[in-house]
Amino acid sequence: MSHTVTVTVNGTSYSREIEPTLLLVEFLRETLALTGTHVGCDTSQCGACTVLVDGRATKACTMLAVQADGATVVTVEGLAKNGDLHPIQRAFAKEHGLQCGFCTPGLMITAVDLLERNASPSDAEIRHAIEGNLCRCTGYHNIVNAIRTASTEMRQAASGEAKIAAEVQP
């Protein structure tokens, strides 16, 4: 028996008929073709599928799409605004916080959630926050640097100071 759900994803409202067993991550990847969110495990260990659901980092493989009815979801595709990268995106590139890039969307989303709640996290707080997002390439060293760099930039931006220069080519 299919259900109709309405979910706002990256600012666009989508109404779709779906099976009740469809996972949120499948809804995003297959129904909406937003493949930036990845599936890395089947036991909610790895965090590659992390998206923001009503502002909180959520593993989209552990949530049914029907549970997201009426919710607002942000995926990696929704981080940049009008072509301007989010500070976390710029920081991941600047600090070499990604190698293969598979875990990166989930890690950036988790970091956005962290920085929303704690604008100035310590390294230990950063490591604790991303403990549910596994990365096999970077050893986390540069991911921690990237999140710290993003937090600095976001605080400076919030206090009206100049943005650090973006080093990523558009």
Partner: protein, 785 residues
């Protein structure tokens, strides 16, 4: 050296060209490829580690709505066998079919394939397949597999022995006769599960006689070759694409059953077919790594001088030989054990054994971590026995810098090396001299603090082709590159390497930019598509990409540069010797104001109406580069740990490493490779380990039971480098992809054992979990009472 004396881009932290698409979700991984009308494949896998397949009833599955096809091994024999690319002398190879026909040899061995309109339908149908198994006795442990009476994995071979591989040099009997001290240690490299973050996936379509197959691989050209040969297609009709690949670490260095099956099924069913591995499935069906047990004996003098090493090794290859498996415990392990040390006598014998477990092959470092772990543990045991500083035992036995090129006792030639500066820098970074104070402070807290050193030499490049062939490697170790400059001056590089996180697009652009005098931003690097690249690319593994593939790019760029100079000289009416190519301009030395743009030269090459006499039109070069020797990076890693006296929990408090990979192309990427490698090596030392029960069931069957290190498990890493250029290639580059993994495991373990040494603890097998350490501490304390 043909590289410019003052390179502009080589050696700088150029931002990665890969990142913009990966941080925005625009990258396309294999599972992101969504084809119209695709059907989904699911494999039925044996729950038994060893069982005869008496009968498979597929009738109910075939009736399930949405099912397209249900096939068993007998019906799928047309896919041919899975390949092994290395044959060591006397090897007993295994027949390895994509779907088992006679019996299942490990839990996870595929026994049937289902294709359906949806994943759910395929899974439902798979559940309806009734397999009549006759369970057989199981052998999991490699040493037990070699004992008389052990269950035989491949009956036609008569035993489980895959090979016996000796490497000998010097007079080992004399070494042990002359020894003032002998130390023996059983050393275990436990089985590891690679856990690239992207699970494997394959999707394919067959249209107009042409098969296009997207797959998560490190070696797209080998997949193309085997799929074409096995499925009876021309190689020109098989296009293999490795799009974004989410990490590999050796686990995607195979031609897997699923690649042949998806190719075969899409061809025979006439519609696209897709398979995506589930993580728990991957734990069973994607190769594992390590699983090596060795008895290591060292003969030495009381002053720390090493006289000889005698090692007996048993390597578990799992149920079948995989693509590179025969070369890991042999070529990549046995030859490199002497590391940075002068060892007068060496005697190793490695035996490989089949068992009823998931096949074992290359996992980051592949043989070299095992070799370095054995050497570095036995050195620490020796230092402990003779009461000498472990750093000084190492220093005493180092090959001196004036001894290069140095022929090792195992029979390979190190072209270059200078080991003491790396050791000294690492010791300084680690504040080695101040350590005892920190140990005392920890003791006051009720904790144990230790420091551990590892000095290593590894072997990279995995070429030249003739040396590979002599060692039993069935394919050359060269690499290819093509550089195409379009008429407008835009540059494309097509590389035979197949990166999956290493940033080749950036590094290769840097290399070519310096040769062509243009910006890396003006160069596009393309990889992983066998219809775009040169005819053969060997791929990315064994830290070979830069030292082989990067040099191919460099040489292709030099060829293009030479033609740019010739055309420039012609147009500027000057001698080629006076032509300068830089900053996108071509001009006569001293007359930069009369420059031609790089694009003017490329346009002239294609207009072809004003070229030097006899010059071919066009501006393009293809190079296949085969190096004259392997490369030998080295370094020192030092870990400092503190162990909670109550819980046995280990924290790495400080990590210092000084590595020498020769010239660095992009220091940011070099450090990133080290960070990830160190993390994986620490994972082996402290956290990771595959566990089977006696029935061959994988108890550590998911990320819930197998601990992939998280951010909270690891420290920041302090890195430094020395630069000792190799003369093996014109850039002096050596390779850095695996060094971190090789250096870190023994450093971490040596640190833990050093911490526990006041309790009289000499060795604990990896992984050094808090439970194991707690038990060891408790046993030691109780023993003392």
């Amino acid at each position: 050296m043909t590289v410019a004396a003052n390179p502009k881009y080589i050696g700088t932290r150029v931002a990665r060209k890969e990142d913009p698409r990966l941080i925005t979700g625009e990258g396309t991984f294999t599972d992101d490829v969504m084809l119209q009308g695709v059907a989904y494949m699911t494999l039925v896998r044996s729950p038994h580690a060893h069982a005869r397949i008496r009968r498979i009833d597929t009738a109910a599955a075939k009736k399930e709505p949405g099912v397209v096809a249900v096939l068993t091994g007998t019906e799928l024999e047309a896919t041919g066998m899975l390949p092994v690319f290395i044959a060591v002398p006397g090897m007993n190879g295994s027949k390895h079919m994509p779907i088992a026909t006679d019996k299942a040899r490990y839990a996870g061995d595929a026994v049937a394939a289902v294709v359906a309109d949806s994943r759910d339908a395929a899974k439902r149908a798979a559940d309806l397949i009734a397999v009549d198994y006759e369970p057989l006795p199981v052998v999991v442990d490699a040493t037990k597999a070699l004992e008389p009476g052990a269950p035989i994995v491949h009956e036609e071979l008569g035993s489980n022995l895959v090979f016996t591989y000796p490497v000998k040099g010097g007079d080992i009997d004399k070494a042990f006769k002359d020894a003032e001290i002998k130390v023996t240690q059983r050393i275990v490299n436990q089985r590891l599960i690679p856990n690239a973050m992207e699970p494997r996936a394959v999707t394919a379509k067959f249209e107009a006689g042409e098969l296009t197959l997207w797959t998560t691989t490190q070696i797209p050209h080998f997949v193309q070759l085997i799929v074409a040969l096995n499925l009876g297609l021309g190689q020109n009709k098989v296009r293999v694409i490795a799009p974004e690949v989410g990490g590999g670490f050796g686990s995607k260095l195979q031609v897997y059953a699923e690649e042949l099956l998806v190719g075969y099924l899409s061809k025979t069913l006439g519609r696209p077919v897709k398979w995506t591995e589930e993580r728990r499935e991957g734990y069973l069906a994607t190769i594992h790594g390590r699983d090596l047990v060795e008895n290591v004996e060292i003969a030495a003098k009381k002053d720390g001088t090493i006289l000889g090493l005698r090692i007996r090794t048993v390597a578990n290859v799992g149920a079948y030989l995989q693509a590179f498996a025969p070369g890991i415990p042999t070529i990549l392990h046995a030859f490199i054990i002497p590391g940075p040390y002068k060892i007068p006598a060496f005697d190793i014998e490695v035996r490989g054994a089949y068992t009823n477990t998931t096949p074992v092959d290359a996992y980051r470092g592949a043989g070299r971590p095992e070799a370095t772990f054995a050497m570095e543990r036995i050195i620490d045991r020796l230092a402990d026995e003779i009461g000498m500083d472990p750093a000084e035992v190492r220093r005493k036995n180092f090959i001196p810098p004036d001894a290069f090129p140095f022929n090792t006792i195992s029979g390979i030639t190190y072209d270059s090396g200078d080991y003491e500066p790396a050791l000294d820098r690492a010791l300084a970074m680690a504040d080695y001299k101040g350590f005892e104070k920190r140990r005392a402070e920890a003791k006051a807290r009720g904790n144990y603090r230790g420091i551990g050193i590892s000095t290593y030499v590894e072997i990279c490049g995995l070429a030249p082709s003739k040396a590979n062939s002599a060692l039993g490697v069935g394919w050359g170790g060269y690499e290819s590159a093509r550089i195409r400059v379009h008429a407008t001056g835009s540059v494309q590089i097509f590389t035979g390497t197949s990166p999956h996180g290493q940033g080749h697009e950036t590094s290769w652009a840097q290399i070519a930019a310096d040769a062509l005098g243009v910006s890396p931003n003006d160069i596009e690097v393309r990889h992983g598509d066998t219809f775009e690249s040169p005819g053969m690319g060997v791929g990315t593994f064994g830290s070979r990409s830069l030292a082989v593939g990067g040099i191919a790019v460099h040489k292709a760029a030099e060829k293009v540069r030479e033609k740019v100079v010739q055309i420039g000289a012609h147009l500027l009416e000057a001698s080629p010797a006076d032509v300068v190519v830089e900053n996108g301009k071509v001009f006569v030395k001293g007359v930069p104001e009369k420059a031609k743009n790089f694009g003017d030269i490329s346009m002239a090459a294609y207009l072809a109406n004003n070229l030097p006499d006899g010059m071919e039109p066009g501006l393009e070069a293809t190079v296949y580069y085969d190096p004259p020797n392997f490369t030998f990076p080295f370094g020192t890693h030092i870990a400092e740990v503190e162990i909670d006296g109550e819980t046995g929990n280990v924290r790495i408090e400080r990590y210092s490493a000084c590595d020498d990979c020769g010239r660095q192309i992009n220091p940011m990427i070099v450090d990133g490779q080290l960070h990830g490698g160190i993390a994986q090596g620490i994972g082996q030392a402290l956290y990771e380990g595959a566990v089977y029960d006696d029935n061959g069931q994988l108890l550590s069957g998911s990320m819930m039971e197998y601990h992939v290190p998280s951010a909270e498990d690891l420290p920041m890493f302090n890195l430094d480098h020395t630069v000792t250029l190799t003369n093996t290639n014109p850039l002096g580059v050596k390779g850095i992809g695996e060094a971190g993994t090789i250096g870190s495991t023994p450093a971490a373990v040596n640190a833990v054992i050093d911490a526990l040494s006041p309790l009289g603890i000499k060795h604990i097998d990896m992984p050094l979990t808090s439970e194991k350490i707690w038990r060891a501490i408790r046993a030691a304390r109780e023993g003392r009472r």
